[in-house]
């Protein structure tokens, strides 16, 4: 499913640069051992500004899902209905990322199943973004 291309900014450039190298990174606070994504200028837990980027395993678990029949995003309308699943990262299940679960038909999403990150190229700019597929 061809998605919109995200336009990186100063804060999230390390994330999108890593995506282009097919590495998944999220922010990590060494002071309180807390992961966070989306990125912020400081740790949302202890307000430490010394937040770092840390590579994670790229493994996760499907937490929940919806089937989208009425998307607001114009470029996705031809692909309806489609899955949007929440993926909980292995390192920190409170870190949630979204996925279309490419290869998994709607109404057949295995809740709780293991997934692994893949990187998808978005057409408008060529920026890569993380996607997730079920580990068979």
């Amino acid at each position: 499913m061809p998605k919109q291309s995200p336009i990186p900014d100063e804060l999230d450039k390390p994330f999108y640069d890593a995506c282009n190298e097919e590495r998944l990174v999220v922010q990590y606070c060494p002071a309180c051992s807390r992961y966070q994504f989306p990125p912020r200028n400081a740790c949302g837990g202890c307000l430490n500004p010394g937040i770092q980027w840390k590579q994670v395993s790229g493994r996760g678990r499907i937490q929940s899902r919806v089937v989208v029949y009425d998307t607001p995003v114009s470029v996705l309308i031809p692909d309806q209905p489609f899955n949007v699943a929440t993926i909980a990262l292995e390192e920190e299940p409170e870190i949630i990322m979204l996925s279309h679960l490419p290869g998994t038909p709607v109404e057949q999403v295995p809740i709780g199943a293991q997934v692994e990150v893949i990187f998808e190229t978005t057409p408008a700019t060529g920026q890569k973004i993380p996607e997730w597929r079920v580990v068979s």
Binding site: K3, Q4, S5, P6, I7, D9, R34, Y35, Q36, F37, P38, G44, Q63, S64, R65, V66, V67, V68, Y69, D70, T71, P72, V73, S74, V75, L76, I77, P81, F82, V84, A85, T86, A88, L89, E92, P93, E94, I95, I96, M97, L98, S99, H100, I111, T122, P123, A124, T125, I129
Partner: protein, 443 residues
């Protein structure tokens, strides 16, 4: 751009252990004014969000039976939509300046609630000294005004929120969603094209899996809300679509983001509400019975990811319940009704369970959808959302507060049968909510 101070963080009651609220029983809501509703703006100045706001203010003052010159404070929620809006520099439509005086913010009165715009267009408000913005939600304005009155910063304060709804669909194919690139913080989730209700629907799905419930169990709640909303002569449905819906309608509703269907999504409208909040002492001289505030409380997101989690919704709505009961010095059994937020319908049960409303001895969570199968009507023992909420009246996030005030004043159009001594209202999400306990008595 004209803006005024926002609510100081120190006014928030966002943790346990704060004890009884210092303003308990010393602040009351009295006059209530509601504008007519419309599905969308027709671009006439007379039907703009700002015009509706002025109507609501005049009605609230008249309802209170006071002089406009007695108003010495305004707290407003400047945001007037959660959907698509105009660029802030968009000039007003032709003829606007013939009807309204302008301020330096061209969208004031159109897509932004603006204190200065109100004041230049209501010269009868001659004594407004205290001005503050309760940003994001009218709930924030209510809790802000309650604090401001309790702290002696204003004694007769208008609480205001207007909602605009422009032509076109609320989100679909508009603004950022129309392009082939996406910038700004919405990109972390927006690329996947999930409609606004999807985040709630995903957590609802998890909730159902965890507690063995299903979407069909929502039907009695949805139907009851429309029934309650249709009793409200000021609501959108009673004014424009006065038809009841049935369980079958709900069960066959088209999916937006399954398990959220069209009836789980509230309908965007144009409307405005103004409420007078004042000291308990002055409230005695206002015409309506005072609706006393016993406490207020706030929760804010603790999420680490792009969407909240089921755990965070349960944790924070539980915390909200405990904070409210502590601040008001009451317990769950003291609540005669609940008017927590419902836009989207699929999270209402988190609020309800956090308050232990209708728990009937049930210690854990996961009981609310069973409660929906019992008598939750205004004549029953556990009136759930007697206002009908957004779902029964249109999207405003204020019907619930308005009705809690009217219930304890004894004059709600959907008045509950048992005495409405104490009730609760709060908006919006289970992890980001401002709530108040209302009472017919200050004690």
């Amino acid at each position: 751009m004209a803006s005024h101070p926002m609510t100081p963080n120190s006014w928030h009651r966002n943790r346990e252990g704060l004890g009884i609220w210092h303003g308990r029983g010393k602040v009351a809501a009295t006059g209530v004014g509601t504008s007519p509703t419309a599905r969308r703006w027709d671009e006439k100045p007379e039907t703009s969000m700002g015009a509706l706001t002025l109507i609501a203010i005049r009605k609230a003052i008249e309802d209170a039976g006071i002089s406009p010159s007695e108003i010495d404070g305004i707290v407003i929620t400047p945001e007037s939509t959660t959907g698509v809006s105009n660029d802030p520099n968009t000039p007003p439509p032709e003829g606007w300046d013939q009807v309204f005086k302008m301020v330096d913010y061209p969208q004031a009165g159109i897509t932004r609630g603006d204190i200065d715009w109100i004041l230049v267009n209501m010269p009868e408000l001659t004594n407004v000294q205290f001005k503050m913005e309760g940003r994001g939600c009218m709930s924030v304005s209510f809790t802000t005004a309650a604090e401001a009155v309790a702290r002696g910063l204003t004694h007769t304060c208008l609480v205001i929120r207007g909602w605009h709804n422009l032509a076109g669909r609320y989100y679909v194919g508009q603004g950022a969603a129309a392009g082939d690139t996406l910038a700004g913080p919405q990109k972390y989730a927006g690329l996947w094209g999930a409609p606004a209700c999807a985040g709630t629907a995903m957590i609802f799905e998890e909730y159902c899996n965890k507690y063995g419930k299903n979407h069909d169990m929502m039907a009695p709640f949805i139907v009851e809300q429309r029934k309650n909303g249709l009793m409200n002569p000021d609501g959108f449905y009673s004014q424009h679509r006065p038809e009841m819906i049935t369980v079958e309608d709900y069960l066959s509703g088209r999916w937006i983001a399954k398990p959220a269907n069209i009836y789980d999504n509230d309908l965007p409208i144009q409307a405005a509400l103004a409420v007078i909040m004042t000291t308990a002492e002055r409230a005695k001289n206002h015409r309506p019975k005072p609706a006393y505030v016993l406490t207020h409380a706030q929760t804010r997101p603790e999420s680490q990811g792009v969407t909240p989690t089921l755990e965070s919704w349960e944790r924070l709505s539980d915390k909200m319940g405990r904070m409210l009961f502590e601040g008001a010095g009451i317990g769950p059994d003291d609540l005669d009704f609940e008017n927590m937020y419902d836009g989207f319908t699929l999270f209402h049960q988190f609020h309800l369970e956090g308050l232990r409303f209708g728990a009937n001895g049930e210690k854990g969570r996961g009981y609310a959808l069973d409660l929906y199968q019992e008598d939750i009507s205004i004549t029953g023992p556990n009136p759930v959302s007697p206002s009908g909420g957004n779902n029964g009246n249109g999207r405003t996030r204020f019907w619930n507060h308005r009705d809690s005030i009217l219930q304890v004043q004894g004059r709600s159009p959907s008045q509950i049968s048992k005495p409405a001594n104490i009730g609760v209202s709060g908006s919006h999400m289970p992890h980001m909510c401002d709530s108040l306990i209302w009472s017919s008595s200050p004690d």
